[in-house]
């Protein structure tokens, strides 16, 4: 029978994550299996961090979100925004096919959630007055990081952590409440941080900041579909996943272009910087994670073992 599914996300129409959702919706519609996906973008239905709860209770059918937002419900998800765990986009693509991801999918199944489209996006640092590449650069700065593990690492490097809503970053940069921020390439662009920053350290050959942002679906809802509908969804998802990976790589280059055009200095993170950060992360965020999550060490080792 004909079914209508509801997909909620926080992104604008131009965002790659919306395009991924739209692609799945279009492909499924084309398959003509009596399945329609209605997209509610730009936070028009739920706030970003409020999507996982209704998803897991079957009140929402699908969403595209940074899985780390739900780390309060499943602490293991903190591994999807852990400094230095992912080196670059190709490494990320191997990670989603690894036993590590199978373990995470088991955790999702506990909440009646499943993945349709895997995908990682990268990010970097923006500095108000100076460039941030290595850990010594953040000492004494007021920093705002998207994600708990990054906050722990930055604090370990001697930065002060300012917690504030992402919508306040721009203003806080401008008035000097904040000295630096750490978030995804696309968020830097959409919050127009290039207008108020003096230096940008994008994701390059090595990048510290990678965030897993899959298209998720309620598992019971998926299982209630007809075999044809399920197949159409799977096919659409496979196509969207390939597109997502290509676009994710382009995002970083595009953000650099936007910052450069705005006259912002572009800095580069060296492999030595990366190792120095990872060393701090090992004794701060990795350590905290292992202490907090019962089988944390095993999950961390699984993630680190991906070549």
């Amino acid at each position: 029978e004909a079914r209508e599914l509801r997909l909620s996300h926080q992104w604008s129409n131009q965002d790659v994550r919306h395009k991924v959702a739209q692609m799945v919706a279009d492909e499924v519609a084309k398959a003509n299996v009596g399945l329609e996906i209605k997209i509610y973008g730009s936070k028009s239905l739920f706030k970003p961090r409020e999507q996982y709860k209704p998803l897991s209770r079957g009140q929402l059918d699908m969403t595209v979100l940074p899985l780390a937002y739900a780390a309060g419900q499943q602490p293991a998800y903190n591994l999807t925004l852990m400094p230095g765990l992912v080196k670059n986009h190709d490494h990320a693509a191997r990670l989603v096919r690894s036993p590590f991801m199978k373990e995470l999918e088991k955790k999702m199944a506990e909440d009646d959630v499943m993945v349709l489209v895997h995908g990682y996006l990268a990010g970097g640092f923006a500095g108000k007055d100076k460039c941030i590449t290595g850990p010594e650069d953040v000492k004494g700065l007021q920093m705002r990081a998207a994600g708990k593990s990054f906050e722990q690492m930055l604090a370990g490097a001697g930065a002060s952590i300012a917690s504030m809503a992402s919508s306040e970053i721009y203003n806080a940069f401008q008035t000097g409440v904040l000295d630096g921020a750490n978030t995804s390439s696309s968020s830097f662009v959409s919050y127009r941080i290039y207008e108020v920053a003096s230096c940008y350290t994008p994701a390059g050959d090595v990048a510290l900041w990678f965030m897993y942002q899959p298209l998720l679906m309620n598992k019971s809802t998926f299982e209630s579909l007809t075999p044809e509908q399920r197949k159409a969804l799977r096919d659409a998802a496979a196509k969207a996943e390939a597109f997502y990976l290509e676009e994710a790589k382009k995002q970083d280059a595009e953000s650099v272009e936007v910052f450069r055009k705005a006259g912002v200095e572009i800095a580069e993170m060296t492999p030595e910087d990366f190792e120095a950060w990872r060393e701090i992360a090992r004794r701060t965020s990795y350590k905290a994670f292992v202490e907090e999550v019962p089988d944390g060490q095993r999950l961390l080792d699984l993630a680190l073992s991906v070549e």
Partner: protein, 438 residues
């Protein structure tokens, strides 16, 4: 059902329910629950408390109780009277000087209070009895304070600007700055009208004020210092890199409470509780409407009504100024019945895409919207400032207040027209201070 038809049904049901006399917030929840149950099934109903909580789970909302406390703390002291008296001693030679000092005091007080009723109460408690005693007609006394009080939401800080900033994701710092010049313009228009009407009534001589010596004029200035200190402190915190605009509100609230307790010796715990009680009452009332309006807009969005209306308006080929006129008319009518925050929260998600598609600046629109909402504050049947005037001077009839404030409504309409002709009135200051908008 067609979403547009459904939208019309929702509008009709909302009007019906709200006119029954149920409180606005509960009425919005009732309408949302009914439509979600019928058109979206039980699973959306389960979500209502979650959405309700989520709408309140926003740091920027903190500033609403804070800016209300600022106004309540100061209005409970004789600071308002000091301010008003200082202005009177300086404006004494002007015909209608007393009305003008009241309007000026309202404008200055508005720079410390985020809410309109608080501004109205602070100045009116002293100003209305004084004006009546000196022979000003009841309508002028009540009308000028009712209208002057509305400046509370235009001159920063402003609760409605905060709510607009949250609903539309525009910078609250920028919105605050945008209200400054139009606020001063409105004060000037109010004063010009008062001057003219006093002169035209031929009573200027009878209303001749008592005169003050220069010594008396200078002697009162130190008593205005706490005001200056608060305003400077808040401005420094907000634009000097100390805190974000929402955090600044807490600094302001603390400063005002401290000044009330230390300088104005508000030591009686009952007096402090009165301040907290009034602030809590107004804040909870506003925040309840904000959360309920959030559930309402979830319902509109879940049923695809918001999206369909925006699309439908997009297909209409109308002149952008005709559109702006229609939008203002809609806001004006909504403002007759609903408090400003409810109008902004219900209308912003639908109106903003329309406004920006038509090429209007969202910051500029916030100012037009706010002035429009100011009219609603002094119009029946729900006019928050009318309650306040009624509380101060119960013997002045509603009719008299309304007739008295009508000319000031005219000033507000004129201000909206001026803003349409010269949008720079709103956008110049934020652009100059914070750099050009995107």
């Amino acid at each position: 059902m067609d979403p547009l038809l459904l939208g019309a049904l929702v509008a009709a049901a909302t009007i019906l329910v709200l006119f029954s006399g149920v409180s606005v917030a509960l009425g919005l929840l009732i309408v949302s629950a009914a439509f979600l149950m019928i058109f979206d099934g039980a699973r959306s109903l389960e979500l209502m408390p979650e959405i309700f909580f989520g709408k309140l789970d926003n740091f920027a909302l903190l500033s609403i109780p804070m800016f209300i406390i600022m106004g309540a703390a100061i209005s409970s002291t004789r600071a308002g009277a000091d301010l008003y008296e200082a202005l009177e001693r300086w404006l004494t030679r002007v015909p209608g000087g007393l009305v003008m000092s009241n309007l000026g005091a309202c404008a200055l007080f508005a720079a410390m209070s985020g809410s309109s009723p608080a501004t109205c109460a602070a100045i009116g408690k002293m100003g209305i009895p004084e004006m009546r005693k000196r022979g000003y007609p009841d309508g002028v006394a009540a009308g000028s304070i009712a209208a002057g009080g509305t400046l509370g939401i235009l001159i920063p800080p402003s609760v409605t600007m905060i709510v607009y900033g949250i609903a539309t994701e525009t910078s609250i710092g920028r919105l605050f700055l945008a209200g400054v010049v139009p606020g001063l313009l409105l004060v000037a228009l109010f004063m010009a009208w008062s001057l003219y009407s006093t002169w035209a009534s031929g009573d200027a001589a009878r209303l001749a004020p008592r005169s003050y010596s220069w010594a008396e004029r200078f002697e009162i200035l130190p008593r205005v210092l706490p005001f200056v200190a608060i305003i400077m402190g808040v401005l420094y915190a907000m634009y000097g890199g100390v805190a974000t605009p929402s955090e600044t509100a807490a600094v302001g609230a603390l400063l005002c409470l401290l000044i009330a307790i230390v300088i104005y010796r508000m030591w009686d715990p009952r007096a402090i509780w009165a301040v907290l009680r009034d602030s809590t009452r107004e804040s909870v009332m506003i925040l309840f409407i904000i959360a309920a309006a959030g559930v309402f807009s979830y319902m509109l969005s879940a049923l695809f009504i918001t999206q369909s209306i925006a699309q439908w308006i997009g297909t209409l080929e109308v002149n952008r100024w005709v559109l702006m006129g229609a939008v203002n008319l809609f806001l004006l009518v909504a403002g007759f019945f609903l408090p400003p925050v409810a109008v902004i929260l219900m209308a912003a998600p639908i109106l903003l895409p329309i406004i920006t598609t038509a090429g209007f600046d969202p910051i500029w629109f916030a100012v037009v919207l706010t002035i429009n909402m100011e009219i609603g504050l002094i119009s029946p049947p729900v006019g928050l400032n009318l309650y306040v005037i009624n509380g101060i001077a119960p013997d002045i009839s509603l009719r008299t207040i309304l007739v008295g404030s009508l000319p000031y409504v005219g000033c507000m309409v004129l201000a909206i027209i001026l803003l349409c002709l010269f949008p720079g009135l709103a956008t110049w200051l934020p652009d100059a201070v914070m750099g050009p908008a995107q």
